[in-house]
């Protein structure tokens, strides 16, 4: 194990952490408003396909990112209309969104499979900072999208905890009827939260096809969307803890192809189960703990709100 392999590992941790954090942060915001969206994997695929497509056409990664976020946000509105406006079951609607997104991305992206990437997010050179040993080659060489993920995380935390809009969003997620009585539009806030979740899942997909593994093929999301859903629980619905979880689970993914290099004789496939098992463990811990104090999960999650049934 030498310095180069370790630095390679850290770079990979940041890359996978970014992928997971963007999507998980979006899902956190949606769930905070009381909407469980199991469509992350499908929104990620739609975003990834769109980003790669626009990148090939324009050669501009920022245009590609913007397009991916808009398309994924619009796509998430299918879940928004079904589950929020019409009050359909969130589990069913979200899963159908994943099936639809994976199908649509594969269908629309069929001609993209053979294309070479024309746009990608490269690492950002921060001048002297990037020359620092270790930190310079890892943290201070992150791609713009990784920086964006960190900034968005801080903004999300500030908005959720320090602003009126954030309070309204959390109120809607805890008790929709109370928020409604206080004059907050439940449907509007939930739709916005779902759209933000979609846009961030789209950004995560863009990171996948423009930075992490430039290119497009069916199945390229490889179940990462489910890890994002897991991370929201693992991070107890808090942007900061979700970031820590993203780096931890990103680290596990980054270790998979490197286990042999480090001389560990365990199948990388078995290692890849850990995020899911850890999430189950955390879920059990949270529910044991919440016997004595209030649950950390948004109380209204999964419950459709229709005013006349209040």
């Amino acid at each position: 194990m030498n310095q180069e392999t370790l630095i390679g590992l850290f770079i990979s941790v940041i890359e996978f952490g970014t992928l997971l954090y963007l999507a998980a942060l979006g899902e956190t915001i949606a769930e905070k408003s009381g909407v469980l969206n199991l469509g992350v994997e499908g929104m990620m695929a739609m975003g990834g396909m769109t980003a790669f497509w626009v990148g090939v056409e324009t050669g501009n990664p920022w245009m590609a990112l913007l397009a991916a976020m808009i398309v994924a946000a619009l796509f998430s509105m299918i879940h928004g209309v079904a589950a929020v406006v019409m009050g359909a079951d969130q589990v069913v609607s979200g899963l159908a969104l994943t099936i639809l997104g994976l199908g649509l991305a594969a269908f629309l992206g069929e001609d993209l499979v053979s294309k070479r990437p024309e746009a990608r997010f490269e690492s950002v050179n921060l001048g002297p900072l990037s020359d620092i040993p270790w930190l310079g080659e890892t943290l201070f060489s992150m791609s713009a999208l990784s920086w964006l993920a960190v900034v968005l995380g801080v903004v999300a935390w500030l908005v959720l905890t320090r602003t009126r809009a954030g309070l309204a969003l959390r109120a809607v997620g805890e008790s929709a009827a109370t928020a409604d009585a206080a004059g907050t539009s439940v449907v509007k806030i939930r739709l916005i939260a779902v759209a933000i979740g979609g846009a961030l899942a789209g950004a995560s997909g863009a990171h996948l096809t423009l930075a992490l593994a430039p290119g497009w093929s069916e199945g390229t999301t490889a179940g990462r969307g489910w890890i994002a859903v897991a991370l929201v629980i693992f991070g107890a619905w808090q942007p900061g803890r979700v970031l820590v979880g993203s780096l931890l689970f990103g680290g596990l993914i980054a270790l998979e192809p490197r286990l042999q290099t480090f001389g560990v004789e365990v199948s990388p496939i078995l290692l890849s189960m850990l995020p899911y098992l850890l999430t189950i463990g955390v879920l059990i811990l949270l529910s044991v703990r919440s016997r004595n104090r209030p649950s950390v999960a948004p109380a209204a999650i999964g419950i459709a709100y229709r005013r006349e049934e209040r």
Partner: protein, 358 residues
């Protein structure tokens, strides 16, 4: 939209769910046609090819019915859990666990005669599926842990277990380094019924119909109905909610496991990573479209089976296989919309009748 709102109808429109399904199908076909035209295909040619290959011949019907088996059993598994207000999102993983259980029996006792081996493999499949549901069932009934996430997570675990097995300890030494398990013994194949259909179709039909009858006629089924609709009533008449939640979720897993066993012994010659092929997820769509009723599950499973078989047939014409997944998801969204409008109507805010507005 801002000035419109949904108001509950005094009485829901008649024929609700069948109509909703038909509307959903029409919406899906319409959207699908737009996609096909945009990608340079004739929707009429594609749809008629789909219909012909899925339902236009005995051979097509045999393939459709064979596909309806895992979809129907997964749908029943989801519906069984749904009767207690639970979501088993883990049918995909339980199908895999079932297939692993079946393959394990074939590994340790390959010399058994078919009439012994097949039931043993199916039995192990049932146990495998039940085993994967055991953790979520215990966590839900003992600790109140939400089963949606636990079952969902175990899908990903099960996929990796089968990936590990066919890449490692169970890898076929004569498989040209492909990640596949060795071929199953010949006598483990389910007997053929007609054309491509095997006895699995009968087994699934018996299970789905049998469960429907049992749930509607037996005392156990009646208890289930009470427990599923009112926890308080259930406890008042002495039904243990804990026991019910536990049994129902394990039973749900067992049914999905059976689907895995039938896939293995019926449609596949060996254990492969893709044995569940998304059937567990489609099963959720099946159960939702069937409103969690066993009778509906059978009908919807055949309909979606036809969409899938048709979708596989049009690949030869250069149409992506993803088409059938798109159609299935759109049927669900279309039906959800239609179902809402059979219970609600859209009115302008100004015209809200008094009493409906809070």
């Amino acid at each position: 939209m801002m000035n419109m709102r949904l108001v509950r109808r005094d009485t829901p429109l008649a024929g609700g769910q069948v109509r909703a399904f038909v509307v959903g199908l029409l919406i899906a076909l319409l959207f699908g046609a737009v996609l096909l035209i945009l990608s340079g295909h004739s929707p009429i040619t594609v749809y008629s090819k789909m219909f012909d290959s899925a339902l236009g011949s005995p051979r097509g019907w045999s393939a459709t019915l064979t596909r309806a088996v895992p979809l129907g059993l997964a749908g029943l598994a989801v519906a069984v859990a749904g009767s207690m207000g639970m979501w088993n999102i883990g049918a995909e993983g339980q199908i895999i666990a079932g297939a692993i259980g079946g393959a394990w029996i074939a590994r340790i006792a390959p010399e058994l005669p078919g009439p012994v081996l097949i039931p043993a493999m199916l039995g192990a499949a049932v146990l495998g599926g039940a085993f994967l549901a055991l953790g979520p069932a215990l966590a839900r009934s003992r600790l109140g842990v939400n089963e949606i996430i636990t079952t969902l997570m175990l899908n990903e675990v099960a996929i990796r277990v089968v990936r590990y097995l066919v890449n490692g300890p169970w890898k076929d030494p004569e498989g040209n380094n492909f990640p596949i398990a060795p071929e199953l013994p010949e006598q483990s194949a389910l007997p053929t019924l007609f054309e491509r259909a095997n006895v699995g179709v009968l087994i699934a039909a018996v299970v789905v119909i049998g469960f429907g009858l049992w749930a509607s006629r037996s005392a156990w089924g009646y208890e289930l109905k009470i427990a599923g609709s009112s926890e308080k009533t259930a406890e008042y008449v002495g039904i243990s909610m804990r026991a019910k939640l536990f049994t129902v979720l394990v039973l749900s897993g067992a049914i999905a496991g059976l689907a895995g066993g039938i896939e293995l012994t019926g449609s596949s010659s060996r254990l492969v990573e893709g044995v569940a092929n998304g059937y567990g997820f489609t099963g959720i769509i099946v159960a939702a479209l069937a409103l969690m009723r066993p009778s509906g599950v059978a009908a919807v499973a055949v309909a979606l089976g036809a969409v899938q078989i048709g979708g596989e047939a049009i690949q030869t014409q250069g149409v992506p296989s993803a088409t059938s997944n798109i159609l299935q998801a759109l049927i669900l969204f279309g039906a959800l919309t239609a179902a809402v409008f059979s219970e609600y109507r859209l009115v302008r805010s100004a015209a809200v009748p008094s009493g409906a507005a809070a």
